[in-house]
Homo-oligomer: 201 residues x 2
Amino acid sequence: MPALPEFFEVVRRQRACRTFRPDGVADDLVEQVLEAATFAPSAENRQPWEFVVVRDAGVRARIGELTRQAWRGGGRAYAESRLSPQLLADVDRGAEGEVSAAPVLVVVCVDARRTHETTIPASIFPAVQNLLLAANAVGLGAALTTLPTAFALELGELLSLPEHVRPLAVVPIGYPAHALGPPRREPVSDHAHRDRYGSRW
Amino acid sequence: MPALPEFFEVVRRQRACRTFRPDGVADDLVEQVLEAATFAPSAENRQPWEFVVVRDAGVRARIGELTRQAWRGGGRAYAESRLSPQLLADVDRGAEGEVSAAPVLVVVCVDARRTHETTIPASIFPAVQNLLLAANAVGLGAALTTLPTAFALELGELLSLPEHVRPLAVVPIGYPAHALGPPRREPVSDHAHRDRYGSRW
């Protein structure tokens, strides 16, 4: 990897990583990745994000239990008929334990006092995306997961979140256990329209 | 700007641009920016995004009216007590007309048939963020706006959106009318926690 990765190269090689080597991730790398997250836009530039960086094995294991519970309690049934067998197997291994086995779990929360309810997603997920891209840029693997946030109350209790701080995503970070291939994406022309929906781009 | 902008440089200089030169933006640049958007992650890799690229002056003017209506009908009153006078003036000019005067408005929608209701924000706003970053990377200005989506029905009618396709953001794209300074952000340490909320990073 070059010292200064090129922007579009990072964008084009982003893949969800759900299986990690046990090696730890240095604090300064975690901080570099979090700093990138804080440069995302937010409604009124309110920066309502809070990042709980979990390294504690017990806390990670408990987040893993909540993930499994959400997966077995509905996530899997919903996904089963929709995913390719290969992707389903990958997500299944992740939800059953490999994601929470990442050395670092970043629980991304919103401080709901800082922003209007309607602008929460637009103020948090861009930061999550910066976090994911930055992790990729420095050679780490990461993934955007939301399954454990189905148990927001339990997660809040586990992480001592005040009532106004709500978890929206859990991002596992670590060194990928194996090389990730290129992402599979449909062409722009399948998703772009000119002036009106259905008008060919 | 270098031909191949460095990833972290693009991340660190991202700023909302709300005032644009009238110069048009070539189709291939728009496509490069949209392609970057399609490399974002989405739940189950369902890629539920649809991009309506609006250049038509009449349609842009109508989106401008909806933006003004949302701004005057509540957005401004909410923002007034919360924003610095400088930011308020900037947003005010944008909402009153300068944003919709951008040569290109990308209306980012979700195809709700493609994804579960709960995963819509996590499947759309990362793509919006890629779009914004990519615009910055190629020297364009852009901003994440959600005001006009308060009138989703009117916007849907204007853009011939089917019922299952809902607008979530409107991103103006064009060449910045003036240089944008560096973004203002709070330090990571104000937003990061170790293992539990409130435990110093």
